[in-house]
């Protein structure tokens, strides 16, 4: 009995010691704060102009060689074009196809000014250091012009601040507003203390032309004492027609094909 008890105690002690030494969670270590070291990753060749390590160079050259070989082996054999008979007169269908091909060919000279992107090199060429003073004088006007142009030319790259509720960017919205502002002749005699909101629903084609326009509160036009509303509503429809076609963003048609314009003359008439 005594013997078995002592063996059990011994066994437990050994097991406990083993646990203390080997298991990591039993041993509590003090938390030491680690120092953060910022590391900038740079290309050695950019800063030091040092050659790559000879081993690395070998590997790179080997890969390059393999790639070149692959390109050569994968290249399709040159197509054998049958010689045209000198006597052969081209059929009318063939002539037509030929002409079409010529038209669809991209001609960099024909790229419209608005779509054309100026490269940094071209910009440098345009720069004349002798005309700095003139450039400074016109800088304000130019930035204003550029901003105006940007508002009118709706491109996807203009502004990335997409209004998630609307599906178009704020600058695109501003550009549409600017177009309508010019077309809307506000009737000046309207009672500005009344509700002067006219909601017009537009359905647009992909090119920005108006498929249909509808006054949402149409019933109000014929209500007694709402003669001013009729005048206002008609002015908004004229504005929409005068602005047809609208300059809309080049992409995202699904987002703007249905448009609601909320015309409110109150602010302008109250002064």
């Amino acid at each position: 009995m005594y013997k078995s008890v002592s063996q059990s105690v011994l066994f437990h002690v050994i097991f406990g010691l083993f646990a203390v030494i080997s298991l990591p969670f039993v041993k509590k270590e003090a938390i030491t704060s680690q120092q953060l070291i910022t590391v900038d990753i740079i290309q050695i060749s950019e800063k030091t102009q040092l050659p790559f390590a000879p081993k690395a160079r070998e590997i790179i050259e080997k890969i390059k060689k393999e790639q070149e070989e692959r390109v050569v082996t994968k290249q399709a054999p040159p197509k054998i074009i049958p010689k045209e008979k000198l006597d052969a007169v081209p059929l009318p269908d063939q002539v037509k196809n030929k002409k079409k091909e010529e038209k669809t060919k991209q001609n960099p000279e024909e790229i419209k000014e608005l779509n054309r992107q100026t490269s940094e090199f071209e910009k440098k060429e345009l720069f004349d250091p002798n005309k700095i003073a003139a450039l400074i004088d016109k800088s304000k006007e130019e930035t204003a012009d550029i901003q105006k142009k940007q508002n009118l030319e709706l491109t996807q790259n203009q502004d990335s601040s997409v209004n998630l509720n609307k599906g178009i960017t704020l600058s695109q919205e501003d550009a549409i507003k600017a177009q309508i502002y010019k077309c809307w002749n506000i009737p000046l005699g309207l009672p500005f203390d009344q509700d002067l909101l006219v909601r017009v629903r537009l359905k647009l084609k992909q090119d920005g032309s108006i498929l249909s326009s509808e006054i949402l509160d149409h019933a109000r036009m014929n209500q007694p004492g709402q003669g001013y509303y009729k005048v206002l509503a008609e002015s908004t429809l004229r504005a929409v027609k005068l602005c047809d076609p609208l300059k809309m963003p080049a992409t995202g048609y699904e987002k703007w094909k249905d448009l609601q314009l909320n015309f409110d003359a109150k602010e302008m008439l109250r002064g």
Binding site: K177, L188, V231, F263, A265
Partner: protein, 446 residues
């Protein structure tokens, strides 16, 4: 079960897509005058008396008068008739809107003239929405050929109303004091004319000095002040009959009479023992009621359009300022607090604004403020100008302006001017002689 989930998720997806409507608030617009084409009216040939009409050249006169009215309002830009492509008779029946859109017209006016066997003139006009491609107004009017000018004014009013949303002011008249002769022997006569300065007529001979004529709301009656035996009195004059009567024989001096909006009372200031107060007189019973009792000079009273309030000027605060009180004389409140002196307040027929004359640093201004004194706006400034009077739609003010007198006796001419509430459309109204104290009538054709 699978189908149910497909249907459920597809409805969810497509319903979200349909709610993605782009809404844009348009809170600004163009305040430029509306491009308008007024096609020359034409005479319908089959008419028996059409030759007679052609001699009068009424088709040209009517369309020119309409053009001038609209142009003077400052809200319409009349496109040069030389650029019109379509002939007047076709334009009146079946206009080609593309032709009118080509010259940038947004609206077009056309009309025809017919004279019947009773020699009555029938003028038919149509207003076309060029952009919308439809007729938006049409009217036929009968009158004697001599009344062609009134017809042109009524048509102008219809166009104005249809395009601006408020009533016009072209079929109205202006009464004023016509002045002639040297400064020390000035002859002042009552004169009346159309709002555009045409049809000028004199109502008095000029034997007595006349001042501050004002129309009654019915436009048949005028009240004015005249000196008789060096004593100022308030008179009533019926324009149609020419009958004139003294409103009352007061022991003191009476000034600045004006009708109440219902035309039943006259409100005026009455000076007695060096103190001037506001009084009203019932025209049917001739009962006089004193409204102010302050020992200061209260004058130039004017009713609000609903007749519930009166505005006047008083020096009770130490300087001449504008006040508003209830029509029974209670609850007097000062509303002008700017620098300078304020006088001749007149309540707008729309009820929203009070026009006034302001004197500040030797200059005279015509301005407007809200009836609580807020939103003061000075519309025009000059060496000497005063006495604003509202057009019936409350959009335009007429007043008179005097030039500086030279040492040699030159200058000092007075003339009538109008200005709209924007302050930009200021125009001189031509009169045969010097003119002062203008007052605008209500619409003749209500």
């Amino acid at each position: 079960m699978k189908n149910f989930f497909i249907t459920f998720f597809s409805i969810l997806f497509f319903s979200q897509a349909s709610f993605a409507l782009v809404k844009i608030d348009i809170t600004r617009g163009n305040l430029e005058p509306l491009p308008t084409a007024v096609s020359k009216f034409y005479i319908e040939d089959p008419s028996k008396f059409s030759e007679e009409l052609k001699k009068l050249n009424l088709e040209k006169k009517i369309s020119e008068t309409i053009s001038n009215n609209l142009k003077r309002s400052g809200l319409f830009y009349i496109i040069d008739p030389k650029s019109y492509i379509q002939s007047p008779n076709i334009a009146h029946v079946k206009p080609t809107f593309q032709d009118w859109a080509l010259i940038k017209a947004q609206i077009m006016v056309s009309g025809k003239l017919v004279i019947d066997e009773q020699k009555r003139l029938r003028v038919e006009f149509r207003l076309w929405d060029v952009v919308g491609g439809k007729e938006i107004e049409g009217l036929a009017l009968f009158a004697t050929p001599q009344s062609w000018r009134r017809i042109a004014h009524i048509i102008s009013d219809k166009i104005y109303e249809r395009m601006t949303g408020e009533s016009g002011y072209f079929d109205t008249r202006i009464i004023y004091v016509a002045e002639s002769g040297p400064k020390d022997q000035r002859v002042k006569k009552l004169a009346i004319m159309d709002q555009d300065g045409s049809n000028n007529k004199y109502l008095t001979l000029g034997n007595e000095l006349v001042l501050t004529p004002r129309f009654s709301p019915t436009a048949q009656m005028i009240t004015y002040m005249s000196y008789f035996k060096n004593l100022p009195r308030v008179y009533l004059l019926n324009i149609e009959t020419g009958l004139q009567e003294v409103v009352g024989d007061f022991p003191g001096m009476t000034f600045a009479p004006r009708f109440s909006p219902d035309g039943k009372k006259i409100i005026m200031s009455f000076a007695k023992d060096g103190n001037s107060d506001i009084y009203t007189m019932d025209l049917s019973s001739r009962v006089v009621e004193q409204l102010t009792t302050h020992p200061s000079i209260d004058t130039s009273p004017s009713y609000s359009s609903d007749g519930k309030y009166i505005t006047f000027n008083s020096d009770r605060s130490g300087s001449q300022q504008i006040y508003v009180m209830r029509s029974d004389g209670s609850n007097v409140n000062r509303i002008s607090f700017g620098e300078g002196l304020y006088g001749t307040p007149v309540w707008s027929p729309r009820g929203d604004l009070i026009a006034f004359t302001k004197i500040f640093k030797g200059n005279f201004y015509i301005g407007v403020m809200r009836s609580d004194g807020s939103g003061e706006r000075l519309l025009t400034q000059n060496f000497y100008q005063e006495a604003p009077s509202w057009s019936p739609n409350g959009r335009v003010l007429i007043f008179y302006r005097e030039k500086k007198s030279g040492k040699s006796g030159t200058g000092g001419e007075s003339s009538l001017w109008s200005i709209d509430l924007t302050g930009y459309n200021e125009r001189k109204i031509n009169t045969p002689t010097d003119a002062s104290d203008p007052a605008w009538s209500g619409l003749l054709s209500k």
